[in-house]
């Protein structure tokens, strides 16, 4: 807690503060050039006409049905894969942390989660084509062993459900990785105290477990949402441009100005930043609340 004294403890020389700032100058210059300015350019451009005059027309044009549809299907896929990933990931993490399983399960699960949460992009699309595609192994197994023709049910990997199932492959392990520390924070004493006072397992979760975990669960779900909202490569490799999600639309816009308005493209990007921004800010806020219990 005595952080502010460090500067005095360690005088930075005759030039004082400016000299100390030179040490972080490269970092700030880099962040400005390759993170902040490029984003700011798009944000400003979203409020400009092609001639550079101020306008709100680009934002209004985002209301075009095809653009709204693109945002909407992106939001749906991200929400479905975030919720699914959060629920399944939470059960999986809880099973490993507090399920009374052999000790080797937990480190194994963590290692596999580390790999799977990073196994995204184009190769993931290939893996799911080999699994649930028309000639995929699971499709074949279902047809051969159970006489169940997956594709006659209207299932298609290049669809909402298909993309959600594919995203779950990195969402579930990501949830396991984020939630495990929060589950470790559930103190054994709380559970013991509750059961001494006669609480059932259900009552324990309803009155203690879930209220304490709630911010972590919500926050992690939002992080998962933002994680899949910005994803491009898996969807592109899986569906080409047949599925109209907002990242694919933006990709086509960058490639060939399919909206026939550069500044509308900037507004499209701004909309994406706002959506991922809001869910990340909410995540950070919820994480702050969650940390109250771990002190």
């Amino acid at each position: 807690m005595s952080e502010p004294t460090t500067a005095r403890l360690h005088p930075a020389g005759p030039t004082g503060l400016p000299w100390a700032w030179i040490g972080v100058a490269p970092f700030f210059l880099f962040a400005l050039l390759f993170l902040i300015l490029p984003t700011a350019f798009l944000v400003v451009g979203a409020f400009q006409t092609a001639d550079g005059a101020f306008t709100l027309q680009n934002l209004r044009d985002l209301g075009h049905p095809s653009i709204v549809a693109a945002y909407w299907i992106s939001i749906q896929i991200s929400a479905a894969s975030a919720l699914g990933g959060a629920v399944i990931g939470a059960f999986l993490a809880y099973a490993a942390v507090g399920g009374g399983l052999p000790a080797w399960i937990r480190p194994t699960l963590m290692t596999f989660s580390g790999v799977a949460s990073n196994f995204a992009g184009v190769p993931l699309a290939f893996a799911f084509l080999a699994t649930l595609g028309r000639t995929g192994l699971v499709t074949w197994a279902l047809a051969t062993w159970f006489g169940f023709n997956l594709y006659s049910t209207g299932f298609n990997l290049l669809s909402f459900l298909g993309l959600t199932l594919t995203y779950l492959y990195f969402q579930i392990p990501l949830m396991v990785l984020i939630l495990t520390p929060a589950l470790d924070g559930l103190k054994k004493e709380w559970r013991e105290a509750a059961s001494i006072l006669g609480a059932s397992t259900f009552q324990y979760w309803r009155r203690i477990g879930l209220p304490v975990l709630w911010p972590s669960l919500m926050g992690s779900t939002l992080l998962l949402f933002a994680n899949s909202f910005g994803a491009v490569a898996t969807a592109y490799a899986l569906t080409g441009s047949s599925l109209n999600i907002v990242t694919i639309l933006l990709y086509a816009q960058i490639r060939g100005d399919v909206l026939h308005n550069q500044n509308l493209g900037y507004a499209l990007a701004l909309g994406m930043i706002l959506i991922t921004g809001v869910s990340n800010i909410a995540y950070i806020w919820l994480r702050g609340r969650a940390e109250r219990w771990s002190r």
Binding site: E3, A95, L101, R255
Partner: protein
């Protein structure tokens, strides 16, 4: 309180199935290239493809450049913030988290607009310039992971005492950084580096939109045109990811700190 372990076992078994079945399916699919028998034909074709070799080595070189630039940028900054400017920590942490907030496709869109041929810094005019821009872009993408890894490493050592000891022996700042700080947080730097490598090696969006011949766009191209080779490539990519994560475990074991 003795609980039944049926539910937890079920969760773990289902989770393992979700993780393993696509891998098994991909391995099986990749070996189907020769009709009527299993073979490694698809791997032979892929590994023998000159474009595979070219794009893979391009991405490896780019990943190494990204790691070098990233380490040289992040380590001195995190060190300096910890030692002299602790008040800046929240600001620096916030900036390093921004690449998780701003989607990669948006960042590269901005690059294409402010570093094009008409701009004040026309990086995309030449192939070398674009390579540099791509490496900087990857440093940005890896920033959250690299910074967090290095920062965790720095917190685990006594930066102040080490610095003062080195100073009292007459060491300059370069000596302190490279001969004292770097060796002490070597495992943290290596963890960040392997994670960076795993992110960069198959990255698609940046490379495709900057139009560079990297591994990610090559994967996409093969996927659009071939049947069995994509499965073989997916397995190769998976092995690379697995190797990176395994190396993180090996080097991180000494510290016992979880990544990510």
């Amino acid at each position: 309180m003795k609980k039944s372990t049926f539910g937890p076992w079920l969760a773990v078994v289902l989770g393992a199935a979700y993780f393993l079945i696509p891998l098994i399916a991909t391995v099986e699919f990749s070996m189907r290239m020769k009709r009527g028998e299993y073979s490694f034909e698809a791997y032979r074709v892929v590994l023998g493809d000159p474009r595979f070799q070219a794009s893979f080595s391009y991405s490896v070189a780019l990943a190494l450049a990204t790691i070098v630039i990233g380490v040289l940028l992040v380590v001195p900054t995190a060190y300096w913030v910890q030692l002299r400017l602790p008040k800046l920590r929240p600001v620096v942490e916030f900036i390093t988290l921004l690449p998780l907030v701003i989607p990669a496709i948006v960042i590269v869109f901005g690059y294409l607009r402010i570093y094009n041929s008409e701009s004040w810094l026309p990086l995309t005019d030449s192939a070398r310039g674009t390579d540099l821009l791509l490496a900087f872009g990857y440093v940005t993408l890896a920033l959250p992971y690299m910074y967090r890894s290095v920062d965790t490493g720095l917190r685990a050592i006594d930066v102040r005492t080490l610095t003062e000891a080195a100073e009292s022996l007459g060491a300059g700042w370069a000596t302190i950084l490279f001969k004292v700080i770097f060796p002490n947080i070597r495992s943290a730097i290596l963890s960040g580096s392997f994670l960076t490598f795993a992110i960069v090696i198959g990255e698609f969006t940046f490379a495709a939109l900057l139009d560079r011949p990297a591994f990610g766009p090559y994967l996409q191209l093969v996927g659009a045109n071939r049947a069995y080779e994509p499965a073989a490539l997916a397995i190769i990519a998976f092995v690379v990811t697995w190797a990176c994560m395994g190396l993180i475990q090996v080097f991180g074991a000494a510290r016992g700190t979880a990544q990510k």
